[in-house]
Amino acid sequence: MKVLEDAGRGTTNAFAYAGGVAELFADALRFIVGLRIRVGATVDQAYLLGVQSVSIVILTSLFTGMVFSLESAVQAVQYGVGNLVGGLVAFTAARELGPMLSAVVVAGRTGAAIAAELGSMVVTEQIEALQSLGLSPTRMLVVPRLLALLIMLPLLTVLADIISIIGGMWVAGIYAHISQESFITSARSAVPFEDVLKGLFKSAVFGVIIAIIGSYQGLRTRGGAAGVGKATTGAVVTSIILIFIFNFALSYVLFAH
């Protein structure tokens, strides 16, 4: 009986969570559609959440591009298809590596920051203070973060795409003696611009996931410092799981047909 009870409670909680997230997203959309946007706060958040993530995105995408090239370039040359390495790296970067890597890195850094900040505001009554002043926490806090990530994550993805391709090209040159011209020509021919745009669309969706999950986890924080810790962990774990699930779904819809 207890197993059934636990399963029932878990299912109810999962639906309640999904409903809460959907409600928060709908509330945020209402403000965005009504153009009730705080531009200054959005720019601040774009800097804090986006610009300050540049270095970590550069590092992760550079090394991932390099590893990808390292694993593939030498063997590709052995099989006589070294001229395809650029295309392979660029193809993977634009469709998967760039959007996924930057999203996962930003979820770890920024999703946690959003949940921790809003969670701290809950436990110090600052959210209630906003409400008592007749201000909506969604408009004041969630919308700027949502818009900031919606804009900044695709830009970070462009950066990740470029950096991983450069890293891959450098390693391909050193270890497999593939010339830059060959690498770039292959990359250009393998990745249509449409694929790059689809990759950026994916990253915009991931930006929404990170902002909404981080905000929702933060705003439902209960129980002091321990609650903030839980909210932060929950935001990162849930965001990353959803990013993987949505990545599969979006890849299926955008690229498989």
Binding site: E125, Q126, A129, S132, L133, L135
Partner: protein, 250 residues
């Protein structure tokens, strides 16, 4: 006596725990009503019921004759603009300066020019005894100054009522006296209603027009300061005397 608000047979639960049960309370317009009671008795919950931050599980809450129990969040936002709330720990936004904190409701709700807002912020801070702190951050202020900055933010829009959640808790007697005096002066200046949650009996005797005592989720005594001090209710007397002996379990 006109009423500013009325709680009618209200019950509130947090999970299985009953916080307030079948509670009824009238808040007289233009008066200072102090709510006393043990820690965890549900006093702060009453304040949150009065501005719609908390919805009752049963019963009705009326503010200025409007039933706010079923009010939509959009309408509650409008209502809250007429009610100031000074939080127990002030709840100032730590990323904003004191001036920005106090100015926030004006910047969001009014079409006043920046210069007018700055002037009003400065005057309001002056009225609570805080001068020249606009550029400082909350973390740079003492406990008493933070409380007063919270008061200033609560009253800057000239609300019809101000709710104070334990305004003097943890402060020294001098600052406690200053804050109590500030609450009385603000009520006079706004010509409105004040509801104060406090444990500080000296401070309550100084400012209260009416006192309500909350015990085990219900109001067990209500009256003027003299009526409450002379109350024959043993719960009230034990609380006022701070005695360990009596019907209140320790």
């Amino acid at each position: 006596m006109a009423l500013w608000a009325r709680l009618d047979d209200v019950s509130v639960r947090y999970g299985p725990k009953i916080i307030v049960q079948n509670l009824s309370l009238d808040i007289v317009e233009g008066a200072i009503t102090c709510i006393i009671g043990l820690s965890g008795a549900g006093k702060s919950t009453i304040l949150r019921l009065l501005n719609g931050l908390k919805k009752p599980d049963s019963g009705r809450v009326f503010v200025q004759e409007n039933d706010i129990t079923e009010m939509r969040e959009r309408d509650l936002i409008e209502l809250r603009r007429t009610i100031g709330f000074a939080f127990q720990f002030s709840a100032l936004f730590d990323s904003l300066t004191v001036g920005e904190n106090v100015a926030l409701p004006l910047r969001e709700h009014s079409k006043m020019k920046d210069q007018e807002i700055r002037k009003l912020v400065s005057e309001t801070l002056d009225s609570v005894g805080l001068a020249h702190v606009e550029e400082r951050f909350p973390a740079e202020l003492s406990g008493g100054m933070v409380k007063r900055a919270g008061f200033a933010r609560a009253v800057i829009t000239n609300p019809k009522a101000v709710l104070y959640d334990e305004p003097t808790t943890g402060l020294d007697p001098i600052i406690t006296h200053v804050l109590t005096d500030t609450i009385v002066k603000l009520r006079e200046r706004l010509n409105g209603t004040a509801v104060v949650i406090s444990h500080d009996l000296e401070s309550i005797y100084m400012m209260a027009d009416y006192i309500a005592m909350l015990f085990e989720g219900a109001i067990v005594a209500y009256g003027t300061v003299d009526e409450i001090r002379r109350s024959p209710n043993p719960i009230v007397q034990q609380f006022l005397q701070g005695s360990e002996v009596g019907p209140i379990p320790i």
